[in-house]
């Protein structure tokens, strides 16, 4: 087992001037990436909105938005919140419980949401699933 007390402690995480230049370069790269993704999302939102494109294209755009959002979120967590540089086990402590819970919540609420929609609109369950 790795010993806990000989690993670089977070309070001692000082770095030199040269390392600082390197880190700042990375920060600038991530900034450009995040801004570019946001710009793409806005342009798609303005020129290919729900009312403009066909429903099937809109579904694709929606999934595209979700992928881009998760991509942005991952970069914010990894680089800005520095989780990518923490211990691997701590990364798991933070991410796994949340991800498991939220996937279940999304699944169950969206299923219930469509059930309420069907109920409100007096659709016939059997007809829909036949």
């Amino acid at each position: 087992m790795e010993r806990d007390d000989i690993i670089e402690y977070s309070l001692d995480a000082h770095h030199s001037e040269e390392k600082g230049v390197e880190i700042r370069k990375k920060i600038v790269q991530v900034t450009i990436l995040l801004s570019a993704i946001t710009a793409v999302e806005i342009i798609v939102g303005v020129f290919m909105g729900k009312r403009v494109v066909t429903p099937s294209t809109w579904v694709l755009i929606k999934y595209g938005y979700i992928v881009l959002t998760l991509f942005k979120a991952w970069y914010i967590i990894k680089e800005f919140m520095h989780l990518g540089h923490e211990r691997k086990s701590f990364k798991k402590v933070v991410l796994y419980p949340y991800v498991f819970f939220i996937i279940y919540l999304i699944f169950i609420l969206l299923v219930e949401g469509s059930a309420v929609f069907i109920h409100n609109n007096n659709f016939d369950w059997i007809q829909i699933y036949k």
Binding site: D5, H15, I42, G49, R51, I76, R87, S114
Partner: protein, 229 residues
């Protein structure tokens, strides 16, 4: 920070059990745990929005609701929200630059970047106020005509839940930005007073930074699920 350390942990910094789990200070880990619980709250908000949208066949399209910009009567769909998103991303970047300067014990640069972070937060808050005013005023853009103003029970755009979610989600997020700005101001004053210089490390900036980046992270999701989809 994997690999061999340059020195052993100062015994004074160890937790009660005589060890330091994940090589992390107690305060920083508790900030992470707080952020997980806060993320559950926001996650519940956004998933509940998804639930409601699944129950309605039609829902307002934000390009047709959010097209105003200040000092103009033109039609600029999503332009102001894009500006707000950009402000928040940039203030997150200045925060991470303050953390980086703190790791070099560079007090001058920490002060500079913290100041810009606070400015960014204040611009975002002001924008949020303007956004609420415009949303409440409704299509005629006049907040003094009460009959067509958006409110909790009714709004001119769509189902009542549309305004309810706008007020709750962006309001709860805006309140987080507000408390983040207060935290940043406290940290800023402490940096100027030299509190962290004396302590030998700027970890407090890192903890405040975690909160501030979290606020940005939440906005990324609000932006996608409330404004874009």
């Amino acid at each position: 920070m994997a690999g061999e350390a340059s020195k052993a942990i100062d015994p004074k910094e160890l937790w009660g059990g005589g060890r330091s789990p994940f090589s992390m200070s107690y305060g920083k880990m508790m900030m992470w745990f707080f952020l997980i619980s806060d993320a559950l709250t926001f996650g519940a908000f956004i998933v509940a929005l998804g639930f409601l949208r699944y129950t309605y066949a039609d829902w307002p399209v934000s390009e047709e609701v959010f097209f105003h910009i200040p000092f103009s009567h033109g039609h600029f769909p999503l332009a102001y929200v894009a500006f707000m998103t950009f402000v928040l991303i940039v203030s997150s970047v200045t925060m991470v630059l303050a953390v980086e300067a703190g790791h070099r014990m560079d007090k001058k640069n920490v002060i500079k970047w913290m100041a810009w972070t606070i400015v960014g937060g204040l611009i975002f808050l002001g924008s949020q106020v303007w956004e609420w005013g415009t949303f409440i005023a409704g299509p005629d853009g006049d907040i003094t005509t009460w009959a067509d103003n958006a409110r909790i029970g009714w709004n001119p755009y769509g189902p009542p839940q549309y305004a309810q979610f706008f007020f709750c989600v962006t309001g709860f997020h805006g309140f987080h930005v507000f408390s983040g700005v207060i935290i940043n101001i406290v940290l800023f004053i402490n940096v100027i007073l030299g509190t962290y210089e004396k302590r030998g490390h700027y970890e407090m900036i890192e903890k405040g930074g975690l909160y501030w980046h979290f606020v940005d992270l939440v906005w990324v999701f609000v932006f996608t699920f409330f404004y874009l989809i």
